[in-house]
Amino acid sequence: MHAEQEQSIWNAFKRGEWHAYSRLYEEYYRRLNNYGYKFTRDVALIEDTIQDLFVKLWTNRETLSTPPSVKNYLYKALRHSLFRKLKTRSKLSFSAADDYDYTFEVSYDHQLILREEQQHMQDMIKEVVSKLPPRQQEIVYLRFYEGLSYEEVGEVMSIHINSVYKLWYKALDNLKDTLHYLVCLLWCLCLPKPDPAVLS
C-alpha cells in the first residue's frame, strides 16, 4: 500500500469508519501473522495478540496519533504485546521489558526450487543467520525482509538507533566471513550476468 493511501485509510478509520478499519485488518493480517510467527510457533497466541491489538485500535481510535508508517506502528504494537504474553506465559523472566528472552526464527522449509547457485547462497545465508543471536536476526529480518531503515528498525524494536547500528554491525561482522566467501564464490562461479529484472 502506498504511504498516502495508508494515511487516508488510517484517518478514515480514526473517524470511526468501519470499512477503513476492516481494510486495515485485510491489509495487515498476513504480515502481522508472519512477523509474529518469527517469535513463536504458538498460532493461537499470535491470533490472540492480533485480536487484542485490533480491538484496542478500535476502542482507542479517537485518541490515536497518525504514525508515519502504519505498518511499523502495528509491528511495534504486535511485538510489544506478544512479548508481554510470552513473558507472562513463561513466567521465567523477571527482567525489565527490554531485556526479554526471546527467539527469532526464519524458516526455509517450503521453498521453491532455486537455481543451483541461488540454492547454495541461500544455504549459506540460512546457516550463518540462524547462528546469530535473536535480536541480530530480527534486525536482519526487518532490514532485508521488510526493507526498514535503521531508524524504523529502532522504532519497531523500541531501541535507540545507536543500538540498531551496533547490533547491525555485529550481525554484519558475523556475516562478513560468509559474505567474503560468497563474493569469491559468486566470482568463481561466474555469476550470471546481472539479472535484468533486478536492475532494470
Binding site: 468501519w18 476492516s22 485488518y25 493480517y29 498476513r30 501473522n33 508472519n34 510467527y37 498460532v43 499470535i46 491470533e47 492480533i50 485480536q51 485490533f54 480491538v55 478500535w58 476502542t59 526464519v106 524458516s107 526455509y108 522449509d109 517450503h110 521453498q111 521453491l112 532455486l114 541461488q118 547462497m121 541461500q122 545465508i125 543467520v129 536482519v140 532490514r143 532485508f144 525482509y145 521488510e146 526493507g147 531503515s149 535503521y150 547491525w168 554484519l172 562478513k176 559474505l179 560468497l182 563474493v183 559468486l186 555469476l191 546481472p194 539479472d195 533486478v198 536492475l199 532494470s200
Partner: protein
C-alpha cells in the same frame, strides 16, 4: 552520489535506500539506481551480488495463517460489539450492533434463590420433567423446564419495564418491541432477575437455569447484558454477552467466560424431552409413570427387560410410544388419556 564510488558489498547492504529498493519497498527508486550504475559501471557486479544476497535471504517461508483470517475477524467484531454500550440507553452508532439478531439464548443458574415478592405476582411452577409454556402479557413466551418457577407481575402496562423472576431453568422468547436501537424506552426493555444476576434484553430468546453453586449463562444468538447485582450498589458490574458466549457467575463475580462451539446444545432439553440411550423398556415406563403421571400396564413382566439399542430422541409421548411399538414389536393400547397397556403383538 560520489559516495558509491567506494562502496563495498557490505556498504551496499548497510545503505538504507539501497536496501529499501532491493526489498521492493521502493520500486520508484529504480531510476536512481540505474543512474548509479550508469555513472559507476564497475559497481554493477557488486550491486547485483548485494541484491542476490538479499533476495536469497528473502526467499524464506511466509506464514500467512489464511485459515484463521475470517474466524479471527469474527472474534474481533464480537469483542468490539461486546465492549460497546449494551442494549440499554447509551448506544453509540455502531454498524455491527445493528446487525445483531434479536434472538439470544442464555443459561443462568443462581446459587440459592431468595425473592422479594411483590404483592401482585403470578407464579407458574412445574413438576419434575414437566415442560410448560407460559405466555406473558406482552406475548413473550417462556418455556419452563421441570421443577422450575417463574414469577411475574400480574399487571403489565405499556411503557413500563417488563420483568420476571426465575427459579430453575427456562427458555425465553422475548417479544421485540424496540424499533430504534438508538432510542430505547423503558417498556421496550425486558429484565430477568436471578439472585446474583440480572439479564437485560430488548427482544430475544434465551435459556435460564439454576445450579447449586454457580450461575451459567450461554448465549446462542443476539446480545444481552448480564448485571451482577451486588448488594452495595456502587460495585455493579455489567457483562455483555454475544452469540456463543458462555459465562459462569458465582458470588456476584464473573468467574469464567469462553466461546462454546455448539451453544444450541444448552437448549436441547426443549425439543428433546425424551432422550434415551440403550434403554430398557422399564426405564421408559418409569419415566412415563414418574414424571408424566401415566398408568402403564404390562401384560408380561419379561417385556420390561426388552432393550432398545441406540438412541431415542423424540419430542412427544405419542412419538415415544410409536417408537416403542415399532422397535419392540409391541401393541400399545390406549385405555384412556394417561393409561396405556403394553402387550406382545
Amino acid at each position: 552520489m560520489e559516495e558509491y564510488e567506494k562502496y563495498t558489498l557490505s556498504d551496499f547492504l548497510e545503505d538504507d535506500s539501497f536496501v529499501r529498493w532491493a526489498t521492493n519497498a521502493e520500486p520508484e527508486a529504480n531510476v536512481f539506481w540505474k543512474e548509479v550504475i550508469k555513472i559507476y559501471p564497475e559497481k554493477e557486479a557488486i550491486m547485483t551480488q548485494a541484491v542476490e544476497i538479499i533476495t536469497a535471504y528473502r526467499s524464506q517461508d511466509t506464514f500467512t495463517n489464511e485459515m484463521g483470517r475470517q474466524q479471527l475477524w469474527n472474534r474481533i467484531q464480537a469483542e468490539i460489539t461486546r465492549e460497546e454500550e449494551p442494549a440499554a440507553t447509551r448506544v453509540k452508532s455502531m454498524p455491527l450492533y445493528m446487525k445483531v439478531a434479536a434472538a439470544a439464548s442464555l443459561l443462568v443458574a443462581a446459587t440459592a434463590v431468595y425473592w422479594f415478592f411483590a404483592d401482585h405476582r403470578e407464579s407458574v411452577h412445574t413438576a419434575y420433567n414437566e415442560v410448560t409454556k407460559v405466555v406473558l402479557p406482552d406475548h413473550s413466551v417462556v418455556t419452563l423446564n421441570g421443577n422450575s418457577t417463574l414469577y411475574y407481575k400480574d399487571n403489565w402496562t405499556d411503557g413500563t419495564l417488563r420483568e420476571v423472576w426465575l427459579e430453575g431453568e427456562a427458555f425465553f422468547n422475548v417479544k421485540h418491541i424496540n424499533k430504534d436501537t438508538l432510542n430505547i424506552r423503558e417498556g421496550e426493555r425486558f429484565l430477568v432477575h436471578g439472585r446474583d444476576v440480572e439479564i437485560e434484553v430488548l427482544g430475544t430468546s434465551f435459556n435460564v437455569r439454576d445450579q447449586a453453586e454457580k450461575t451459567d449463562v450461554t448465549l446462542i444468538t443476539g446480545k444481552v447484558k448480564v448485571v451482577l447485582a451486588s448488594l452495595s450498589k456502587d460495585t455493579v458490574t455489567d457483562v455483555i454477552m454475544l452469540p456463543g458466549d458462555y459465562a459462569e457467575f458465582a458470588n456476584q463475580n464473573l468467574i469464567a467466560k469462553k466461546k462454546i462451539e455448539k451453544p444450541q446444545q444448552s437448549i436441547a432439553w426443549i425439543n428433546q424431552d425424551f432422550v434415551f440411550t440403550d434403554a430398557l423398556l422399564k426405564d421408559i415406563v418409569k419415566t412415563l409413570v414418574q414424571y408424566h403421571g401415566y398408568k402403564v400396564d404390562v401384560k408380561d413382566d419379561k417385556l420390561l427387560n426388552l432393550k432398545i439399542e441406540g438412541e431415542i430422541s423424540v419430542s412427544s409421548i405419542p412419538e415415544l410410544l410409536a417408537t416403542i411399538s415399532a422397535t419392540l414389536d409391541l401393541d400399545v393400547e390406549q385405555k384412556s388419556e394417561k393409561h396405556i397397556v403394553l402387550s406382545k403383538k
